[in-house]
Amino acid sequence: MSRVALEGITKRFDGTVALSDLTLEAQDEELLVLLGPSGCGKSTALRIIAGLETPTEGTVRIGDEVVNDREPRDRDIAMVFQSYALYPHMTVARNIEFPLRARRVPVEERKHLIADTARVLGLDELLDRKPSQLSGGQRQRVALARALVRRPAAFLMDEPLSNLDAKLRVQTRAELVDLQRRFRATVVYVTHDQVEAMTMGHRIAILDHGVLQQVDEPQRVYAQPANLFVARFIGNPPMNTIEGRLTAAVDRLTFESAGLTLALPAPLASAARAAGLEQAVIGVRPEDLRVDQAGSISAKLTLVESLGHERHLILRLDDGQPLVARQPAEAAVPRDGEAVRLAAAPDALHLFDPSSERRVEP
């Protein structure tokens, strides 16, 4: 296995910029997730690594070699497609054999490799079937087998789980992680599903409009989002972001917005002063808000969503800005339309500069 690196990649399609100056590296044996909404450029980045698209600018490296001028088949990578892209006219065995055949692997060795791979993925019984006779989950395994059988330098996966039903997706997610560990594989994994990204990725690269927003370990992306986009994209329900202004009192800095006043903890206050902020956006995750009669946030409850193990309180601030709070199922339920007071733990506040949308790091 080897590392995969994009250096200063820009891709333009007829005037629209799909990727702009993307520099990103999946290290050896790393599972790197590219995450973002549809149209953010994540699939384009993957296709550039595969060689299915040519970058307008920049360098692609696999291992230590620049592969810009190499055909996809000479890049020593395997790809799993969202649609699986199985050869519909071939049996499962033939599908798995195809990459070996194309590379003129001797017949005896092929048989061995097919049998091994089929065993790993539990496809032994299905080798004589055609893809049309398989379930979605089985097709997905065949696609994986076809990628694994070659032992390539790196795996590229383009939303491989999104065509599976919810239950199978959770199960396959865990199996993929297990396979990645067992084969010590370098994987670049594209998804729009943040749960997949959080649970599978060693690191997550978040893209928006072709621009890299943040690359970090899942927990850091969650705890320290680099900007407002990441803050609002990661987490379900997403982080609340409230616009307001900062007012200096004698010895401290407070954030004020319609119906709420929050004292900033000292480190955040000094960072805000250093940045010279007057307007600010405060971010607070729904789980960090709690109903508290003594709280400094007043809002009106518009809806309670019960999920069984927890509840989501949908609220509005006095000026109409939306707010969501998560509450354990055991807590007392306020009534719809009721005015509620909430409190936020001071160390759970995130501060963003509204003009650059960047995080202000305490």
């Binding site: 595969a50 060689g51 299915l52 055909e71 996809p72 088949r73 890049r75 990578i77 395997a78 790809m79 497609f81 969202q82 649609s83 892209a85 199985l86 050869y87 519909p88 006219h89 195809f98 990459p99 194309a102 590379r103 049309s132 076809r146 070659r150």
Partner: protein, 306 residues
């Protein structure tokens, strides 16, 4: 919002009108088509079987004589029939595979994502808009020994191509392939559009070069289209008439006397509806058997998606 149309309003029960049952209405709608098919297809088809049993007199105007199956065995046993059938088969072999192969090659070329490729698509498809007559006139002129393009290029065998017993049939075949190329191109292009792009990309990543991708992925996925083109193309080939009539009139030395032309000359020049009817029935049955054979033998190798 507009008011609902008046017809939706409940209607007060009026005097009951006698209504046609549903099946009656259905047949009423079918009637125009049935009349046309009946007059021009079903009746002539049935009439053929009657004509086949009577021998036409040597001179028109005399009464015909009932000969039963004798005429059928006579005609089908004749050397002329065997020769004509062989010519027809040869013509099919010359035109059908070539037409499909060329259509596929052009479709693959025009399927590239290139600037200006739409112009080529239009050109490749354009022969669809030409009739057999136009195609025949074009090729007749090209191959004409006095004014043609080929003589101008220095290719001028003697006798002229269309008068040359060994070249006449291939020459007509070339004109036919050209004329049918537009249709073949359109069929193959439509088939290619239906080949999933990511399957080809998967093959590319899996290590297959362009040639392997074409033979191992594209062609198998196109097999339903190719199969359709073979069946329909064979039927067309067995019914070829216009280009023979316009270019060679069955000659030279009967070398282009395909079955349809043979039938027409029996009627047009020999005023012999009896033999023409026997030949027509034979052509019908041969085409039917050929198509059934293709369905049985070739369809097994066709991959239908899902």
């Amino acid at each position: 919002m507009t008011a609902p149309p008046a017809t939706d309003a409940p209607v007060a029960p009026g005097p009951r009108r006698r209504r046609l049952p549903d099946w009656g209405l259905g047949y009423l709608f079918l009637l125009p088509a049935l009349v046309i098919f009946g007059v021009f297809i079903f009746f002539p088809f049935a009439k053929n079987f009657e004509l086949a049993l009577y021998r036409s007199p040597p001179f028109p105007g005399l009464p015909r004589t009932y000969v039963g199956f004798r005429q059928i065995t006579d005609v089908l046993g004749s050397g002329d029939f065997r020769h004509s059938l062989w010519t027809t088969v040869l013509f099919g072999l010359l035109t059908v595979p070539t037409g499909i192969a060329l259509g596929l090659v052009l479709a693959v070329l025009a399927n590239q994502r290139l600037r200006g490729v739409a112009i080529y698509r239009t050109i490749f498809a354009s022969t669809v808009a030409t009739s057999v007559a136009v195609a025949s006139v074009i090729f007749g002129t090209l191959m004409n020994p006095q004014v043609g393009l080929l003589p101008w290029l220095g290719i001028n065998p003697s006798p002229a191509i269309l008068d040359n017993p060994s070249w006449a049939l291939p020459a007509v075949a070339i004109a036919t392939v050209w004329q049918n190329l537009g249709l073949s191109f359109i069929l193959m292009s439509a088939g290619l559009q239906a080949v999933p792009g990511d399957v080809l990309e998967a093959a590319e990543i899996d290590g297959a070069g362009p040639v392997t991708r074409f033979w191992r992925v594209t062609v198998p996925l196109l097999s339903p289209t190719i199969f359709f083109a073979v069946v329909v193309g064979s039927i067309f080939a067995f019914q070829t008439f216009g280009q023979i009539d316009l270019l060679t009139r069955g000659g030279p030395q009967n070398k282009t006397n395909v079955l349809t032309y043979f039938i027409v000359t029996q009627l047009r020049e020999h005023q012999n509806p009896g033999t023409a009817a026997v030949l027509s029935i034979a052509l019908f049955l041969i085409t039917l058997l050929l198509t059934l054979a293709q369905l049985r033998l070739l369809e097994r190798r066709v991959h239908y998606a899902r």
